[in-house]
Amino acid sequence: MSMFEEIVKPENLVYEKTRLMTDKALSYCPGCGHGTAHRLIMEVIEELGMEESTIGVAPVGCSVLAYEFMNIDMTQAAHGRAPAVATGIKRVWPNKIVFTYQGDGDLAAIGTAETIHACNRGEKIVIIFINNGIYGMTGGQMAPTTLPGMKSSTSPYGRDVEMMGNPLKITELIAQLPGTYFVTRQAVHTPAAVRKAKKAIRKAFENQRDNKPGLSFVEVVSNCNSGWKMTPNDSNKWMEDNMFPYYPMGDIKVDGQLVK
C-alpha cells in the first residue's frame, strides 16, 4: 500500500469537492474569484438537498460557460437577460429553486432593466452578482462598476467620471425596492470572507426555499487579476484598498428591512 492510499481514507477526509462541481477544468484565470464563488453556490445547493429542484441561469461574460462547471440543470441566457430568463422559469415552475449568476457588465449595464424589474416584481429567485469592475471576457474594457480613475482598455487614462459617468452602485439601488428581501455584499478572497460569503449564499437560497416574499441578491466583489494586470495577491490587496471603500462589505437588507 502506497503512502497516498494509506492517507486517503474516508475517516481522514476533512474536505471534499462538492459533487455538484463537474470535473471539467475551470476556464477562469488562476487567481480569479469565480471558481470559489461557483463552488460555494454548489456546496450550498448540495447541503440544502436542492440538487434535483434547482435550475441555474448562466450569463454572458467570463461565466458564460458556468453551465459546464455547475453540475445541475442550467440555461444559458442572452447578455443581460438572465433575470428575465429566470423569471420565466420560476413563474412556470414556482416550486423549483431558480438562480442567476451574472457579472457586472451583464447585470449592471446591458441588463439593468431586467435586473431592476425582476427585483421590483419581487421574483422569488436568487441573483448572484460578481462585481470585478471590468469586462474580463472581452479583454478588460470599462464596466459600469469600474472605479473613478481606474484604467481599462476603454478608459486607458483612467475612468473620467465627467466623460464616462460614475460607477453604478446597483446593489444599493435595488435594496431600495420593496421587491428585494435580502441584499448583501460579500467577497471570496480570504478564508474568513469565504465563510461569510457562503453563509450569505446559504441564506439567499433558504429564503427562496422558504418562499420568503422577494428576491435575494448576493453581490460578490471579486478581483480580476488578468484584467487589472496584477498578480493575484496584488489584485486582492488592491481590491481591499480600492474596491471595498466604494463597495462596502456586509448586509444591506435583511428579511425585507434595510440595515444599512
Binding site: M74, Q76, V85, W93
Partner: protein, 361 residues
C-alpha cells in the same frame, strides 16, 4: 363542437392560447395588439387553467421569459407588433439556436421605425429570411381571418413542439382588430408537471437522480461542433419544407391570372377576383398559409397548368414577390402591387393593377 363567439382577432388569439393549454403568456403592450394581454388579464386564466400571464418590462424581457420557460418544457406564447418584434429578434435567434418550442404573434403595423399604427405586411422579410442573427428559420403561419387567429395558436404549438422551433403567427392590424364570428376549439388541458418531465427529457426541470443533467444553450465555442449543429438545424428546416407547406387555391381551376396573397391581402384579393370574374377575366387566388415553408413547388405546378401571370398582392413595397418570382421563374409573368406605410389597398386598385401590369402589360 366548439363555442361560437364574435371576437376581435387579437382576442381570439388570446382565448385560443388559454384553450390550447398554454402554460404562460409574457408580453408588453403595443398598438395594434394590446388586446391580447388585456383580454388575458381580464380573463384570469390562472383561475381557469393555471396559465401564467405576466406583463414584462419590455419586449426584450418578454421574449427572454419565453426562452426560460420554454427551455423548462412549458408551452409559452408571446405577441407584439412590428417595432416590438424587432426588439424580440435577439431572443428568437437564441430560441431557434437552442431549439426551443414557442409560439409568438406579430400583428404587423407600418414601418420603418415607429412607423404608424395602421396595418401593414412589411415584416415579411424579417419573418421569413431570418430576422435575428445567424442561419435559422421559423415556421410562419399567416391567418386571413379571426377564425385562423384562433386555430393557428393550436396548430402553432403542435408544430413548435413537433420540430422544437419557434412558430410565428404573422397577422396584421386588419386581422388583429376586426371582429368576426369564430368557432372556438374545445379546451385542451395543460400538461401536468409530471407529464412534462416524462415527455420532454431535454427540458430543464431539475436534475433527476441517475439521469443526465440538461443544458439549454445556443453556444459552442468549438466551431466544428457549431457547424454540425447548424447542419442539424438545416436538415430540420428541409423536413419542415417537405412536410408542412400549407396554402389554399381559390378559383384556380381555370385561372389564367392569379393573385398571390396572404392574410388580409388575400381577403382583398378575393373581392378583386369576384370583380374580375364579373368582367370575364379568369382570375384566381393562390393564398399562402405558410410563408415558411413557402409553397414553391405548388406554385410551379399551378403555373404549368396554363397561368399567364401572377400578381403578388401585399401591403409592402414588394417582399413576398421575390419568393413568387423565384418559384415561377420563367414560367409566367410576375408583378407586384401593394399600398404600404399603413394604407390598405382596395379590391378595385388590386384588379386595376392586374389589368395594367399583367394582362395589358
Amino acid at each position: 363542437m366548439g363555442e361560437l363567439k364574435l371576437m376581435k382577432g387579437n382576442e381570439a388569439l388570446a382565448e385560443a392560447a388559454i384553450r390550447a393549454g398554454a402554460d404562460a403568456y409574457f408580453g408588453y403592450p403595443i398598438t395594434p395588439q394590446s388586446e391580447v394581454i388585456e383580454y388575458l388579464m381580464a380573463e384570469k386564466p390562472h383561475e381557469r387553467t393555471g396559465m401564467v400571464v405576466l406583463q414584462a418590462e419590455s419586449e426584450v424581457a418578454a421574449i427572454n421569459m419565453v426562452y426560460g420557460a420554454a427551455g423548462a418544457g412549458k408551452k409559452v406564447i408571446t405577441s407584439s407588433s412590428s417595432p416590438g418584434i424587432s426588439l424580440k429578434q435577439e431572443g428568437i435567434s437564441y430560441i431557434a439556436g437552442a431549439e426551443l418550442p414557442c409560439v409568438y404573434a406579430n400583428v404587423v403595423r407600418g414601418g420603418p421605425g415607429l412607423g404608424t399604427i395602421q396595418p401593414s405586411q412589411a415584416d415579411y422579410f424579417q419573418s421569413t429570411k431570418g430576422g435575428g442573427h445567424g442561419d435559422y428559420k421559423q415556421i410562419v403561419l399567416a391567418p386571413a381571418s379571426v377564425q385562423e387567429m384562433a386555430d393557428f395558436v393550436k396548430d402553432g404549438f403542435e408544430l413548435a413542439f413537433k420540430y422544437r422551433m419557434p412558430v410565428l403567427i404573422l397577422s396584421d392590424g386588419v386581422i388583429g382588430q376586426m371582429m368576426e364570428k369564430v368557432d372556438l376549439f374545445d379546451p385542451i388541458p395543460r400538461l401536468t408537471d409530471e407529464e412534462i418531465v416524462a415527455k420532454y427529457p431535454w427540458a430543464t426541470t431539475g436534475k433527476k437522480n441517475g439521469t443526465e443533467r440538461r443544458i439549454i444553450t445556443s453556444l459552442d465555442l468549438d466551431s466544428l461542433k457549431m457547424e454540425e449543429h447548424n447542419k442539424h438545424l438545416q436538415a430540420k428546416y428541409r423536413e419542415v419544407e417537405a412536410n408542412e407547406v400549407r396554402y389554399e387555391l381559390i378559383n384556380c381551376e381555370d385561372a389564367e391570372y392569379v393573385f398571390v396573397a396572404y392574410g388580409s391581402s388575400a381577403r382583398i384579393a378575393q373581392k378583386a377576383t369576384e370583380l374580375a370574374r364579373k368582367k370575364g377575366i379568369k382570375a384566381g387566388i393562390f393564398r399562402l398559409i405558410t410563408l415558411f415553408p413557402f409553397p414553391t413547388k405548388q406554385m410551379q405546378d399551378l403555373c404549368k397548368k396554363g397561368v399567364k401571370g401572377f400578381l403578388a398582392v401585399e401591403m409592402s413595397a414588394g417582399q413576398m414577390v421575390e419568393d413568387v418570382r423565384l418559384s415561377v421563374s420563367g414560367c409566367a409573368k410576375v408583378e407586384h402591387f401593394g399600398r404600404f406605410g399603413g394604407i390598405v389597398h382596395t379590391p378595385e386598385e388590386v384588379l386595376r393593377a392586374m389589368e395594367q401590369k399583367i394582362i395589358g402589360g
